[in-house]
């Protein structure tokens, strides 16, 4: 494939580079041994935050201590603990305990589990987290969405009413697997998987899940006996409105009153952030008021369902209850993985937000190991799935927590409740728990975030809405699959359809920018400048090849109709092509052939290190010719202009075919 015009016209080597401000040739980067670049890539992929940087240049004894502090962060901040910290943590701990107790009992019912499990789960897991976790603000506890998912997924194989013991054991086993999965993600540093759930997806999914949870509470609020097993809005509304005669007005009124009280408390706290404790105490006061009301009116004898007897004493061991029977194994593993992922996504997001705000750093993978251990230990001590719910952590933060000791305080408060105070909940009406859940869930429906998405990026909004609709109108699993699928598809589409733009010259400069962005740009006669704005991989190389061919077609059509100088040079600005693989190199080779056949010349500008390296190894560099690769678009255009004005300015189409390859 000879360059015929090399013989007829001056070559670009004659171009006087001293005329420009840079006579720098585009360099082939210095070779790097494969092992070193593999090491670097593995390091960037799995250890981007370089967690071992502090271990450098330390004596072995110090390394042991640092290692211990790394695995159990409590040994790091523990010695620095002061009385001031303890005062703040005490207040925060008691505040979140007052939230943990009613919420724990409520969420356990969401999962069709005995209410006492909610209290157990606020005792052991927070202690584990305080030892192993990195966040100073995260408050550990059960989560509504995880509880609902556990309930729906396990109910497919076991009916909680008919076989409560088996159901309980399966719940512990699912929690064990959730913990195992979370810890594995952390140990193998696969934490970046969680990053693939975009914020838009999580907003939509959580909003939908919160809506579903609220709809489920209609059973408790309206006092219905028979209710659909499905979770989608159509089934629930059908179930509710076909049983209008079954509605119990007493439950409904009581539920609405308490719900109103809780929402009022939250509204107050939002108005005056200093009074956050009003909203934090509201659930516990509702429970107390409700209990008193039922006790005084003996309403439990009139059919108002109450919690009833709660066993005293702390968590019994449940390690012998784990059920690895192969009949249920697929279900428990699946439940564990799904609930584990959702718990992680929320917990990591919460931990990161507060760390960002308070300006400390948390290691995502370490957090996952902490969550994992928390759940593994919990499954052996009669707890079910726990995580770091945002609402509770926000209360913890507002209450002024300083370290994870607030979790220890909460755990101790819950322990005291378990040992002494359980009889107090005997008369608590279940409808109060439903109100507490609804009030908490309404906080999870983040419509402000959705509106923000609509304004900034409508595609993100579409993804958010799809996840929401999937959860509300189908079921949670379909919604989750839709959410993850949309996220991954968006990533793949980003890669598969990268942007290509035409560049024009900003007047009186050597700067070339996107003609759609800067409307005052001029085009350069006889030269088409394209910029490829993404790395070139197998997933987009076919598309790019066709797109570049189409840009050239469009430009030639435009020139034909406007009568300008015919096109002779095609400059590709490679500045944004951060990486390229073998398919990408083939694509450039094919573009060179296509461009040659049309009698044009291909020029490259500003190729990065990776691109130069691979072009060199694959001999594409020789094919294009190193003299046609320039450091900047400005220099490339300069060389082309020089050639255009020194040589015959117009090459008719007949002549160009003479020098093309015989096909």
């Amino acid at each position: 494939m000879g360059n015929a015009d090399d013989h007829m016209y001056p070559s670009s080597n004659d171009y006087n580079f001293h005329a420009t401000s840079a006579n720098q040739r585009v360099a082939i980067p210095p070779p790097q041994p494969f092992v070193k670049s593999l090491k670097n890539t593995l390091k960037e992929t799995f250890f981007p935050d370089d967690p071992l940087r502090q271990f450098k240049n330390q004596p072995p004894k110090k390394r042991f201590i640092l290692g211990l502090q790394y695995v159990f962060p409590i040994f790091e901040w523990g010695p620095r603990y002061t009385l001031d910290f303890f005062k703040s943590d005490l207040i925060a701990g008691i505040t979140i305990a007052s939230l943990a107790i009613p919420q724990g009992i409520s969420y356990a019912k969401l999962a069709n589990l005995p209410p006492i499990l909610g209290l157990y789960s606020s005792f052991v897991p927070p202690l584990i987290y305080a030892i192993m976790g990195s966040s100073r603000d995260l408050a550990v506890g059960t989560v509504a969405v995880g509880s609902l998912l556990t309930g729906t997924m396990l109910s497919k194989v076991v009916n909680a009413n008919e076989d409560p013991k088996l159901y309980l054991h399966l719940a512990f086993t699912a929690t064990f697997f959730a913990g195992l999965f979370e810890a594995s993600l952390g140990i193998f540093r696969l934490g970046f998987i969680v990053d693939f759930l975009s914020h838009a997806t999580i907003v939509g999914f959580m909003g939908g899940a919160a809506t579903v949870v609220c709809l489920q509470q209609l059973k408790g609020i309206l006092g219905l006996d028979h209710f659909t097993h499905e979770t989608d809005i159509i089934s629930v509304m059908t179930s509710v409105f076909t049983q209008i005669h079954e509605w119990k007005w007493e439950s409904a009124v009581l539920g609405c009153v308490f719900l109103f009280y809780l929402l009022l408390a939250r509204f107050f706290s939002k108005r005056k952030p200093k009074l956050f404790w009003i909203s934090a105490m509201a659930p516990l006061t509702s429970v107390i008021l409700g209990s008193i009301l039922v006790y005084l009116t003996h309403a439990e004898k009139h059919g108002v369902p109450v919690i009833g007897h709660l066993k005293r004493g702390i968590n019994p061991a449940s390690i012998m209850d784990l059920n690895f029977n192969s009949q249920y194994l697929p279900t428990t593993i699946k439940t564990g993985i799904v609930t584990g992922i959702i718990a992680l996504a929320e917990g990591i997001a919460v931990g990161r937000s507060f760390a960002m705000f308070k300006n400390y750093h948390i290691d995502g993978n370490k957090e996952m190991i902490a969550f994992g251990m928390m759940n593994i230990a919990g499954s052996c001590t009669s707890c079910y799935l726990t995580a770091g719910p945002f609402s509770r952590s926000a209360v913890n933060f507002n209450a002024g927590c300083k370290t994870a000791v607030s979790n220890i305080v909460m755990a101790i408060a819950v322990m005291i409740t378990l040992l002494v105070l359980t009889p107090l909940f005997h008369y608590t009406p279940l409808v109060v728990l439903s109100s507490i859940i609804i009030a908490a869930m309404l906080g999870l429906i983040d419509y402000e975030a959705a509106i923000h998405l609509w304004h900034v990026d409508k595609f993100d909004f579409l993804v958010c809405m799809s996840a929401f609709v999937g959860v509300v109108f189908a079921n949670i699993e379909i919604g989750l699959i839709l959410a993850i699928g949309l996220s991954i598809m968006r990533v793949l589409l980003f890669v598969a359809r990268p942007r290509t733009v035409v560049l024009g010259n900003i007047p009186d400069t050597k700067v070339y920018r996107n003609i759609d962005h800067y409307t005052n740009t001029n085009n350069v006669p006889g030269v088409l400048i394209l910029e490829i704005e993404a790395p070139i991989y197998f997933a987009n190389s076919s598309y790019l090849r066709e797109r570049i061919a189409r840009w050239i077609d469009d430009e030639e059509d435009r020139i034909k109709s406007s009568g300008e100088t015919s096109l002779q040079y095609v400059i590709l600005d490679m500045g944004a092509v951060g990486n390229i693989d073998t398919s990408g190199i083939s694509m450039l080779d094919e573009v060179k052939k296509v461009v040659d056949r049309r009698g044009l010349k291909l020029v490259l500008a500003n190729p990065g290190a990776e691109v130069m390296k691979k072009m060199n190894k694959s001999k594409l560099l020789e094919t294009i010719g190193q003299e046609w690769i320039f450091l900047t678009v400005g220099e490339a255009v300069g060389a082309c202009n020089y050639m255009l004005h020194t040589c015959k300015p117009k090459m008719g189409s007949g002549e160009s075919e003479k020098y093309s390859n015989n096909v």
Copy 2:
């Protein structure tokens, strides 16, 4: 978040822009209505080659004709057909027919189907393709890998020996679903899905599949009666070497002789490309020689298995045989989809290669519809899965085909064979068919491509080898899943771990490039210049935020030890950030906060249209300040230098905290 230094020091607005060559502000791009940008995105995603451009500005009658030509390309090239073309196509057609007949019979046995099906499948499908296909060089026929896959996947539910009728009907049904799937991909323009199988993956997968097919032929060559049902190399080798006493030396010798003959013919043809017909005729001559040999020696009475009776007559209709029984539906659908995708991947790649070489264009989605129709029609006329195998298309190309009429000629030749010549194959020994298959498969093992991958991109080589090993040591489905999974994971990793580099100044220029690429760069005192070399999405925003923080840490460590001017400015070169979503905007917001807290100033250079648009909508633009966003890195450095030299040069860490936010 006030900028305290705005009051104390001159602002960057005072910077004399006239001193630089451009006083261009970075513009916010003109707003584009959402519908228009949605339309553009959909167009780029699904119609990147703008197939309807030819329809613009045409009267309705012409549009109808163009539409007909679009769906049935034969109406486009048919009227231009000449006698010269026919001469070339006749020769090519006869050549590929001589290949189609023995290969068709052989591959049908790979799929455990009656040999006559191989001939049926070279009759109807090529006719359909000639009407609807766009490639001028593709030769249609059955493929070895697809046949093997059909055989292994259907054999899981039905034993071909015990219930041949059901097996046959399921094969037709699987072909129907394959055609339906292929046509749907084409109609919904989801063809880009095939692009996600990288070339490296396909080389590895095809090489592994070819190896597996060769291993399967050991049964025929060695004349073994009992053979493993597994396809992996360990099982096959065990099966072969534990039955050494069962080897039939006659079969083995005959097989090796014919194999040697075929390989010799191919070697010859490679040496002298003009003698390609030697290698093309070799399989047919082997069949004829083998038949003569058996006939003369009456070997079929001595236990040499032969083809036996082949029914005369063309394809019987099989539309009533399609079995949609729900018991087998999952298997047939799965077989259809898997074989369909593999057939597509090879066929599209083949079509594109020849189109590239001969400089015409084929529409990938249209080709998929053609393949789909071919298989749907085939399933109703006693054919099984067909595609465009590379070996046959290469012979077609070398034989000088001009249009798809070569496929019509081949179909007619096969029809003549079916009507008249089937008795000729009565005495063909099966061992000859095995040799033909092995010879064809050895051509599919593209070790040269693998070596090229090793040299250019070792990660691509790793992907290739993983696919190969997966197929050879586990089974084809696991190998395929591994291949697709690795491809997608590589894409996701590309996105999740984008490159960030430090830029330095190329001496005597205003150009800033990667310091690892250009070793003569100087750094700018007090300024850290980072370039983010990929679009910023949710999948990589957390990573990027941590990585930028780490770059700043590293730079401050380096400065501390070297005693240079302390860091004051962090410039982010956004030139390669082609796109950004809401998570990316949040990430930039968080980076601004982190940088502010450390007493540094964040400066942006060369943000693209998308980035400016989204920063404007999300108010990030106000937060950063439009005066700190520059068109080029050079201008940004100029402004920073101006500030550094006009104001107090060193801001100690104590002073910077005075002006940071109270945390």
